[in-house]
Every structure is written in structure tokens, then in C-alpha cells.
Amino acid sequence: MPGQTMVEKILARGAGKEKVRPGDLVNVKVDLVLGNDVTAPVAIKEFARLGLERVFDPARVVLVPDHFTPNRDIPSAEQALALRRFASRYGIVHYYEVGRMGIEHALLPEQGLVLPGQIIIGADSHTCTYGALGAFATGVGSTDLAAAMALGELWFKVPPTLRFVYNGKMPKWVGGKDLILYTIGAIGVEGARYQAMEFCGPAIEALPMDGRLTMANMAIEAGGKCGYIQPDRITFEYLEGRAKSSYEAVYSDSDAVYAETYTFDVSSLEPQVAFPPSPENVHPVSKARGIRIDQVVIGSCTNGRLEDLRIAAALLKGRKVNPRVRLLVIPATQAIYRQALAEGLLEIFIDAEAAVSTPTCGPCLGGHMGILAGGEVALATTNRNFTGRMGHRDSQVYLCGPAVAAASAVAGEIIHPEEVA
């Protein structure tokens, strides 16, 4: 019998089985279930129809009002209120109010809630972020969230696994975002549909945790069910003093079967930019040079972490945002915000004449805080550039990493960071 991948092993364990194979339908116990102020209100309505007095485990349900908060208008305030009331009624341990809240996929790992070997579902497509820590994590809808809150389990089809090997050493200004954009450009937005993506190789082994979270975060943009990196020294260091409970790391067997293996050499990779209206329209930054921009957003569950802010600040220090451009910087959590303050990063952003915001998903999905008018062009470290994603249907979004975003905010047009540094 051939070996199994990390995901197959985790799902087998969750299903109480010795082994599972791609294509098997399994019912698994979940370790953590997540909802936010957009998806949980639908789930709460569905959960109410079950007439249950309790959720399966109040310590394993996480609710984060991060999308339209601080409340954008009365209907979104009502949704946040529904979340708050549900959390109070069912004694939800991990409910994060505004002021303690952060963008969910930055917050949960930071709080030590995400651990290797876990099975995590979230009613948010970017739940796949947690694969960076060696968990099986995937996005589901609100009704799945309701069912999981009731039963503590959910059905899955075991996905085949694609293996992505990144050789070489990443050049300066290239990070996790560039690797994942390049990958999506190579395989397309349905290149990993229904499949797991295993990221490995020397470049991944050298990649800091923030960059790993960015990569796993965008597995969904290739259609992936999950994206993951097997736990290693960087994972264990990240979890040191942070992990809320003990855990057991799981690894792919050396004779595991992969549906396909892709091998990339990153040694001469340029920073990457995804052109509208699809995350697969990826080009090296040199091909985007000179595209004029109206707004730059540095933040989101993809690139709102400390490392991202440090890279942006290094380029913005002593410089001003181009007068034609609005730069929004959104630290993804309160802890990141505080650390950015302590390191003097926020002062650099403010001196550069950027607007610095409290944590929110806001502009990424055209929710609030930075919506685009018709004809406007944004460059963002976010994850989607679909038509109308950040506002008006005639606006456009280009995607990139924090270095290209910061440098371009100064230049007023898309530019290689090297030209500003």
C-alpha cells in the first residue's frame, strides 16, 4: 500500500479510520469552526431551525465580526448584533469584539487557536490560510457552519493532492505573495479545483510564517480545497508560547501519491502582479510598469501581517505617497497594530500621508473603507480582483505584494520596488 499525504492522514484520523483515499466520502470531527459577520448571520438563522439549546462545544466555535466592522451602516450593525447575541446566548468562548477583533485569518493563528494536525472549517473561503501551520482547513458556507456548530462534524470528499516544489533562493523584494500569484498564474483559477495543494521545497523551508500564511491563504484562488505546508522548525517556533493546547504534527509519507507535481525555480522570479479581472492574469511587475493607480491598499487576510507592514514601511520611510494616490494601510489585528506602533511603522505611514485604519476586511470586498468609483484603479495586497470587487463595476483592481504596493504608492503608478528603494 502506498503512503498518504498530510491531508489524507488528517482526514483519516478525523474520520476514525486507518486510511482514506482521494474520492472517499468521510464524516469527520472538526476541531474548530469559524464564522464572521457576513456568513454567521445566515448560519445563525439556519441553526435556530434546529431548535438546539447548545452548540457542540462553545470553546470550539469562533466568531469574528471583521467584514463590515466597525459597523458600516444599520443593516451591517444588525448583523454584528446578531453575532454578539448568539455568542452571548451560547457562551461562545472565542468571540472577538471590535477593539479586540482582527481579520479572522490573521487573528486565529496569532491567538494560538490554529494547530498542526487539526481539522478546521470556516464560513469564509480564506479559511484555507491555516494550512500554513499544517492543519487541514477549508472554507464552507453558512449552512455547513450551522450543521458543524450543531454536530461538531461535517462530511468531506477526500481531495487528491497536488505538490508544488519551489527550488532556489527568493530574490530581494519577492515574498510569499509573489510565489502564490506566480503559481495561480501557472495553473489557473481552477487549476487546483477540488484538490489539496502541498507547498514545499527549499524556498518554502526558508519562508517566514507570515509569507506561508499568505501562500496558503490564496489556495482558494486556484480553486483549491486547501493549501498547506508541513510543520517544521519555523512552525514550531511560531507556536512556542502561543499554542492554546497540545498538538500532534502530521506529515506526508515519503511514498505518498500526488495527482501531479509542479516544480518551479524562484531564483530569478520578479515580483508578480495579477491584472483584473482574475487572479490568474499574472505578469511580472516589469510588464505592469507605468499603469496609473488611484488607490493602494496594504492589508487584508492575505497581506496585513507584521512582516508585510515592515516591508511597506522600509520603502515608505522618508517618502510621501504620490499626491494623486490614496494609500490605505490596515494592520490585520490589534496585536499587529500595537507592534507596528511600537516599531515606529505607523509613524512612517502617517508621515508618508497614508490613512491607517483599525483592523477590518472592509475595502478588500468593496465592503466599506476605500470603495472605488467608476473608472478608478486600485493596486492592493488583497486576494481578489474580480469585476466590481472593490466597488463600482467599472473600477479595476491589480493584486501584488506589499513591496510593489508601497513603492507604487510613492510612484503613482505600478513600479518595481527597486526603482524606489
Binding site: V38, P75, D124, S125, V140, T143, A150, E190, L365
Partner: protein, 169 residues
């Protein structure tokens, strides 16, 4: 389950932001969501769609976010079934979970169809019949497990039945 309806044609990679833009995600009411369904792709859809109409699309339908508001908006609009070459996986789950029928069809079908033509769909057998001309196309029926959820009317009804069975309700 057999359905019959008029075809609305869409292309590849119809994303959930196109199905229901995020600006409308402040309600959970399917009828309210339906008023804005697909409006950035086809301004006429929400106004002219009739109960039982069929949405036919290319590959990767429903890619992007996990918002269940996307299938809810289509269901609220009265769409009888979504037929696509392939579906993004979260949308696929969500549609089944809320009791909205979906069917995967051969890659060449969408290009052969005309907007407005009528189809008959047999969900159990995975058959699509073009009423003008009577030609038949074989599609992939949902796996039995998912047909079971659809037959209960959705996942919540399915879970209810299970909880009752286990004596928990």
C-alpha cells in the same frame, strides 16, 4: 426530480462577487438578494428571470468567496437548476446544502444552447433534453449522498432527521 425551464447562458468562471456583490451582503433574505442577482453581468437577469428558469454556464461556476448568499440569491430568483461544466467546490456544497439543484454537464453543451431555449432536466438520471428538436445530453447526476440531502430539502432538514434519529431532538 424533473424540471423544465428556459435557459440563461453565462460564460466561464462566474464568481460569487458577480452573482451577488458584497455591497448587498447585509441581508439574509433570498428575495431581497434576488433583486441584485448577477446584476453586474446581466442587468436584465434579476428583472426578467422567471420561476423555474435554468442558469447554464461554463467551467468553475461560483468561484471566489464562500458567501451562501450567492446560491440563496439564485434560489430566491426562482432558478430551478444550475447547469455548468464545473462548479467551484464551496458553491457546489452550498447549493446542495440549501436545496438548490445543480448538474454538471459536458464541456460542449453551453456553446450549443441558445439563450431562452427550453430544457427538460432529470436530476436523478442526469439527463438534459432540448425541447426544440428533442436531443438528449447525458450529464453527471449528483452522488447519491448529495441527492439524499437535496431530497430532504437541504442540509438542515437532513441534520434534523439525523438528530431525531439519534434522539437528540
Amino acid at each position: 426530480m424533473k424540471l423544465e425551464g428556459k435557459v440563461w447562458l453565462f460564460g466561464d468562471n462566474v464568481d460569487t462577487d458577480a452573482i451577488i456583490p458584497a455591497r448587498y451582503l447585509v441581508t439574509t433574505d433570498p428575495l431581497e438578494l434576488a433583486r441584485h442577482c448577477l446584476e453586474d453581468l446581466d442587468a436584465n437577469f434579476a428583472r426578467q428571470v422567471r420561476p423555474g428558469d435554468l442558469v447554464v454556464a461554463g467551467k468553475n461556476f461560483g468561484c471566489g468567496s464562500s458567501r451562501e448568499h450567492a446560491p440563496l440569491a439564485l434560489k430566491g430568483a426562482g432558478v430551478g437548476c444550475i447547469i455548468a461544466v464545473s462548479f467551484a467546490r464551496i458553491f457546489y456544497r452550498n447549493a446542495v446544502n440549501i436545496g438548490l439543484p445543480i448538474l454538471e454537464c459536458p464541456a460542449e453543451l453551453p456553446a450549443q444552447l441558445s439563450p431562452g431555449e427550453r430544457l427538460q432536466v432529470d436530476l436523478d438520471q442526469g439527463r438534459i433534453i432540448r425541447l426544440a428538436g428533442g436531443s438528449e445530453v447525458k450529464a453527471s447526476p449528483l452522488p447519491p449522498f448529495m441527492q439524499e440531502i437535496l431530497k430532504h430539502g437541504g442540509l438542515i432538514e437532513y441534520v434534523q432527521a439525523r438528530l431525531q434519529n439519534d434522539g437528540l431532538l
